[in-house]
Amino acid sequence: MKWLAKIFTKRSNWSLPYLIFLLLFVVLPLVLIFIYAFQDNDGNFTLDNFSKFISNPEAANTFVYSIGVAIITTLLCILLGYPAAYILSNRDLCRSRVMVVLFILPMWINILVRTLATVALFDFIRVPLGEGALIFGMVYNFLPFMIYPIYNTMQKMDHSYIEAAQDLGASPMKVFTKVVAPLSMPGVMSGIMMVFMPTISTFAIAELLTMNNIKLFGTTIQENINNGMWNYGAALSLIMLVIIFATNLFSDEDEDRASNEGGII
């Protein structure tokens, strides 16, 4: 007991329990995905899981299709979300903070409840479920995740830049393209991450919005894991991780996330 007390008098050591926890429940599981992906059922090294994915047209097609859906969803979210974030952060156009909360609120509602509500809406206005419903449902689900980061960067933007541009005679259009747009790019980048990543990895949502007619990559992974094809499922997960890692490289790390001033929403 005494040696334990001794360790914890040094405050930096207080991170040790969490370090052990992280190694056990975050790092080790990720390593396991990697190991399983390169093994066959008997635990021997193999690349079969990956060649199976490439040679299997269904899985590969689902993969390409999911990326397509994710790209369209992300683009629509930028198109709809960017103006909204711009208006919300502009004090001349929108004063109330309540508006901001209203836009972020749906982020905190169970994704299944939201999706089922969307399905109910489509039933109510007699819109057939299918590809269109899928895209709308995805945009509906993930739009707040695009608006929030863009709004955040725009809020922190130094307004003297805009005033300087105006004083120097830039037209409103010029102010936007030369000052506001470049300065808000980090927000758009993290917005893309926050929309693209969940869209490509969701399961269940596509199932519900299309009456099981359209499968996305997340569903394929889930089915394989559920059917006991752990190694193949792990390989597919690894492919998804690589994609996400690649998109991550595009957007600079959220430098300000850790220095967030404690405002969660």
Binding site: I33, V101, W108, I264
Partner: protein, 265 residues
């Protein structure tokens, strides 16, 4: 004029975002089995949601969800707060490593977290149930607690703690009387955040819940939706969840506003 267009755009977007939730809320006040049929005003669905009986499994699922959220949020808050104090006192390289590790669960898509933990539990032959779900929830909640507590530590005057030690307080007393009161608001925000994250989760839960018949609200809704018909009682339930989340968010917001104000003063 510009302001009028901007406001109209915001309200249209909000109408789109909230239409599905509104429909669910409206139709929670009628008895019809199928959503979209209005058979007169009634609060029967609300009463039958709480009297249970036929919907015993739904009540059980709600109970499980709340217990899991409560336990997971409590563990995450304790683990995360201690970790935050530790990380705050680390130096350069070690601090960077801990921060990166802490960000990992937040960057990982849910499905990857779920599958990686699933592989961990099956590899070590751990039976899946209550414990595994709670461990999984602690894994993805704790990073957010750390992020809530960290800013409070940064704002704190570091000399107070040292002063307490110099004046003869044991490290434990200094923790209880000095450190905890300073970071309490961050801990509470972290707890609320972890609680909502845990209640909302679906993707991680479904992979770690096992096959012993344990159900949370999310998995119940998922199973229900797959069977086709949605239990009508889910309508009042979703409405209640929505209102609760709304209230919680307002509370968090007021808290952080107040914290910002006192900081400025």
């Amino acid at each position: 004029m510009k302001k009028f267009f901007a406001q109209t755009y915001l309200w249209l977007l909000l109408a789109m975002l909230y239409a599905p939730i509104l429909i669910i809320a409206i139709f929670s006040f009628t008895e019809a089995k199928v959503l979209g049929n209005w058979t007169g005003f009634s609060t029967k669905l609300y009463t039958s949601l709480f009297t249970g009986g036929v919907h015993h499994s739904l009540l059980g699922a709600i109970e499980n969800t709340l217990i899991i959220a409560l336990v997971a949020a409590t563990i995450s808050t304790l683990l995360g707060s201690v970790a935050a104090i530790g990380i705050f006192n680390l130096r350069n390289r070690q601090k960077m490593i801990m921060n990166t590790l802490n960000n990992l669960p937040m960057l990982n898509p849910d499905i990857i977290t779920g599958i990686s933990l699933f592989l961990l539990f099956v590899s070590f032959g751990i039976t899946q149930g209550y414990t595994t779900v709670i461990l999984a929830h602690v894994t993805f909640c704790t990073p957010y607690v750390v992020l809530c507590v960290m800013p409070r530590l940064q704002q704190m005057n570091p000399n107070i703690y040292e002063a307490a030690l110099d004046l003869g307080a044991t490290p434990f007393q200094a923790l209880r009387k000095v450190l905890i009161p300073e970071i309490k608001s961050g801990m509470i925000s972290g707890f609320i955040l972890a609680f909502t994250l845990s209640i909302d989760d679906f993707a991680v839960t479904i992979f770690t819940i096992g096959t012993e018949g344990l159900e949370t609200l999310s998995t119940y809704i998922y199973a229900d939706a797959r069977k086709g018909g949605l239990t009508p009682e889910l309508r009042p339930l979703s409405t209640i969840i929505f209102m609760t989340v709304l209230l919680l968010l307002i509370v968090i917001n007021i808290r952080s506003e107040r914290a910002n104000k006192t900081k400025k003063a």
